[in-house]
Symmetry: C2
Subunit: 240 residues, 2 copies
């Protein structure tokens, strides 16, 4: 629809094993939609170097922006920065500005900037740092890939740091209507309606609650007047 496109790459063994439930994807999806950026695809991969490299390359080539979450901490299983550097063909090493941020932070805390923590200053050549007001260790943007932490509070702070620097699109408007009958009852007329409003998208999202089947019909597009018109026709169709 002409708006910028995006993908998300989640690096997360703990999500794939079912130990934890992802929260960052849902958060990012909402923030991007507000800014008129279309999230088109999400991939969740395990802590595997080659797998991260492949997914980052594929998504970076296909969408305007890629947002990653996870794997940039100090432990041995934090391999995202190195994998993204390889995906973008960039060298990676400890960078002075990132090291200085960490040194100041740990000095103020009375903690040691040990070798493990120094790994968080490994930044690919040519990257711009993403500010982390929560726990200091920065994320970074290289090319069209924005690399962020997995801890939700930190992820959200980094999203707030990076989104203002990204051009948004026209806000995508939507209206929805909940129906309490089977989708199959209205699927035919709904398809006809969708055919008459080719600039809008019509989604039907079924649910089951307390034994009752129903669906949320969502109409999306950029033209509020057209959405109003479609919703009016939808309401008529449901009375029939």
């Amino acid at each position: 629809m002409g708006n910028p496109t995006a993908a998300m790459l989640v690096i997360g063994d703990e999500i794939l094993s079912g130990r934890t439930r992802d929260a960052n994807m849902h958060y990012l999806a909402g923030e991007l939609t507000k800014q008129g950026i279309e999230l088109r695809e999400v991939r969740i991969v395990s802590d595997d170097h080659a797998g991260i490299v492949d997914a980052a390359r594929a998504l970076s080539g296909r969408y305007d922006h890629v947002f990653t979450s996870g794997g940039i901490g100090p432990t041995h299983d934090d391999i995202t920065a190195d994998a993204i550097a390889e995906a973008m063909g960039a060298a990676i090493d400890i960078r002075e500005d990132a090291r200085a941020l960490l040194a100041e932070h740990y000095r103020a805390q009375g903690s040691e900037l040990n070798a493990a923590r120094l790994r968080m200053a490994r930044i690919p050549e040519g990257a711009a740092l993403i500010d982390n007001p929560v726990s200091i260790a920065p994320g970074f943007t290289i090319g069209n890939i924005h690399v962020m932490a997995g801890v939700p509070t930190v992820f959200q702070a980094m999203v707030a740091s990076v989104l203002p620097s990204i051009a948004g699109g026209k806000p995508l408007l939507s209206q929805s209507l909940r129906i309490y009958r089977g989708e199959g009852d209205i699927a035919g007329p709904l398809a006809d309606l969708a055919g008459r409003f080719p600039a809008l998208s019509f989604g039907s999202y079924p649910f089951q609650k307390d034994g009752v089947f129903g669906a949320q019909i969502v109409v999306r597009g950029f033209d509020g007047g057209q959405i109003d018109a479609a919703m009016a026709e939808l309401a008529q169709l449901l009375e029939a």
Copy 2:
């Protein structure tokens, strides 16, 4: 680690737009882990035919099993069955056994088996039906792809139908320990420990709660004795 591998493909505009939060992935991840099947990758794509075909082909070629969720209802935006048929090079049409299931169900309900509902009897040639005790319209397995509904209650019922027919692996055992200090404090010794137990995997999953940073250290593997030994060393290391 020799266990069967799996991927999940979620067809879900509503998840990508941030309207709803996925629940099926977390459920499937837990069920597969219990059965010794390693979930290695998840992709969430939009309701786009070519995108679903591409993702299904890629995942089907790379993993032992692919589980899909969403897009098999009666409305115009339900395009998963046709996309999976194309990905597997199979013809697709209304199949008599699926049609008979739906006819009986809607007759008993006093509803009409209209053209839209008949779409749910479109099954790729050579597929086996997946039983749906909740709302009758079946899923199906073709090759190594298991196609299931998006409504969580129905998805879960279909998972229960299909999993017993799939060979599992050795149960993956795990133990975990919560630490209330920065990961950076223990990252070095943790990496050493991981090096001494190459048959185990060591994950460190940071969290922030009520302003306190900590991490969950998770040790996974197939040998319970080795995990016990590693956990004992880990406890010692944390006392040091």
